[in-house]
């Protein structure tokens, strides 16, 4: 947790962690500072909590409520979870519930959000099978003991890890490359046009000598694109010009970030026009 003077503009940390202030020194005895000086603003960590019964099963929620640097949002089922994760940026997801069901829900979420930090609150004894699945899916298991102190320690540890985690996007755990090809044969525009027309959701990865870039689709619309420091439409425009390299498509991987807001048809027309203009310049 980092403390910052309230005069500085506070910002929410994105899932990518790109806007995190790196060179800021951590204050010593930050806890005491926070308790005694309420005018200090705190950089918030945002956590989504999936709990089917948040009114009566609220031990973990009560503990998380104590942390002023933590903003929590509660959802009750999986569809609400996915909708919330699509709509907003969260640093982590905590799933609370009966062991096997919670792990199943976590596995579902993992398939769509590969870079999200997920933890499952595990009631009762740890089972080898559950642990193996959790390890495979990169899901953290937080044991729920009867003692509030232990539960507090494990939740605090998880939240601290979120704060120190650089949050770089990870490759899919179980990538399903439903389309692989070469940009010499099909241009990026052609491939994207085909995928958008068939209302696909997933991630395109383009690899060329210039570097790697990613375009995320959601139900036939471009949601997010990234190439180096470029994001959004600028990144799409750059990828449009590539004529060499490879690409593959992973179905079902959805970006939490949204940097492209225009429909695909608009993007296509604009970028083809730009490309024509560029080609005209070349011919001149």
């Amino acid at each position: 947790m980092r403390l910052r003077p309230s005069t500085l503009p506070s910002h929410r940390r994105g899932s990518s962690g790109a806007d995190r202030p790196v060179s800021e020194p951590a204050f010593p005895a930050s806890f005491l500072l926070h308790v005694l000086t309420p005018d200090l603003g705190v950089v918030e960590t945002r956590v989504l909590i999936l709990n089917a019964d948040p009114v009566f099963e609220d031990r973990a929620l009560a503990i998380l409520d104590e942390n002023p640097a933590l903003e929590i949002q509660i959802v009750r089922n999986l569809s609400e979870t996915v909708s919330a994760l699509l709509g907003e940026n969260f640093d982590g997801l905590i799933i609370e519930g009966e062991g096997a069901l919670a792990l199943e829900q976590a596995t579902h979420v993992r398939q769509h959000f590969p870079s999200l930090t997920i933890a499952c609150l595990l009631y009762g004894r740890r089972q080898n099978e559950v642990e193996a699945i959790a390890r495979e899916q990169n899901i953290e298991l937080l044991p729920v003991s009867r003692s509030d102190r232990r539960l507090r320690a494990s939740l605090t540890g998880f939240v601290r890890a979120l704060d120190s985690n650089p949050g770089t996007a990870a490759e899919g755990i179980d990538p399903c490359h439903s389309l692989i090809g070469n940009l010499n044969q099909f241009s990026a525009a052609e491939i994207l046009q085909m995928s958008c027309l068939s209302q696909r959701s997933g991630r395109f990865t383009f690899k060329s000598g210039r570097g790697n870039s990613e375009i995320y689709l959601q139900q036939g619309a471009v949601r997010h694109a990234v190439f180096g420091s470029l994001e959004g439409e600028a990144a799409v425009a750059e990828i449009f010009r590539w004529r060499q390299g490879r690409f593959y498509f992973e179905e079902g991987i959805i970006s939490q970030e949204q940097t492209v807001n225009r429909p695909w048809a608009h993007l296509l027309i604009d970028n083809l026009q730009k490309l024509d203009e560029t080609l005209e310049l070349v011919s001149v």
Partner: protein, 148 residues
């Protein structure tokens, strides 16, 4: 400073309001004659929200000390609104009563949420030391006043 009980109340009132809003969305959909199709998924959502409210309302209202004011109206809404189709088939005076009762429950909960947020803001401006010093000072004054 953060007060545990206040945070719990705020969480509970937030969850309750969220459910009342969703219930209202579905009731409004049911009453909209321009939308003739009610899907089984919508009915399922309605039942789930109604179930949550039936389970939690009494407990939350008691925690917020407003059980006497709101409980009757909340239960009236939940008893009248059996399903989206059921709401659509209600006579017009029953629909009006349903809307009035929903509004009464929602208004009280909204007010409560506002008051709790204002209290949280007040507390956030105080440090732990300030808070306890104010408490000690007021106790001292009370003792002095009673001694005289």
């Amino acid at each position: 400073m953060r007060d545990k009980k206040l945070e719990t109340k705020l969480r509970l009132v937030g969850l309750q309001l969220d459910n009342w809003k969703r219930l209202h969305d579905l009731i409004t959909y049911g009453l909209d004659k321009a939308k003739p199709i009610i899907s089984s998924e919508q009915e399922r959502q309605f039942t789930e929200i109604r179930g949550n409210l039936l389970q939690e309302t009494e407990y939350i209202l008691r925690e917020l000390n407003i059980v006497a004011e709101v409980s009757g109206k909340a239960m009236s809404v939940l008893q009248r609104g059996v399903s989206i189709r059921g709401v659509r088939d209600l006579p017009s005076d029953e629909i009006r009563r349903l809307e009035t009762d929903w509004n009464a429950a929602f208004t009280k909960l909204g007010l409560m949420q506002g008051q709790l947020k204002a209290r949280r803001r007040e507390l956030a401006e105080q440090s732990v030391f300030d808070y306890y010093w104010t408490q000690v000072r007021s106790r001292l004054f009370r003792r002095l006043a009673s001694a005289h």
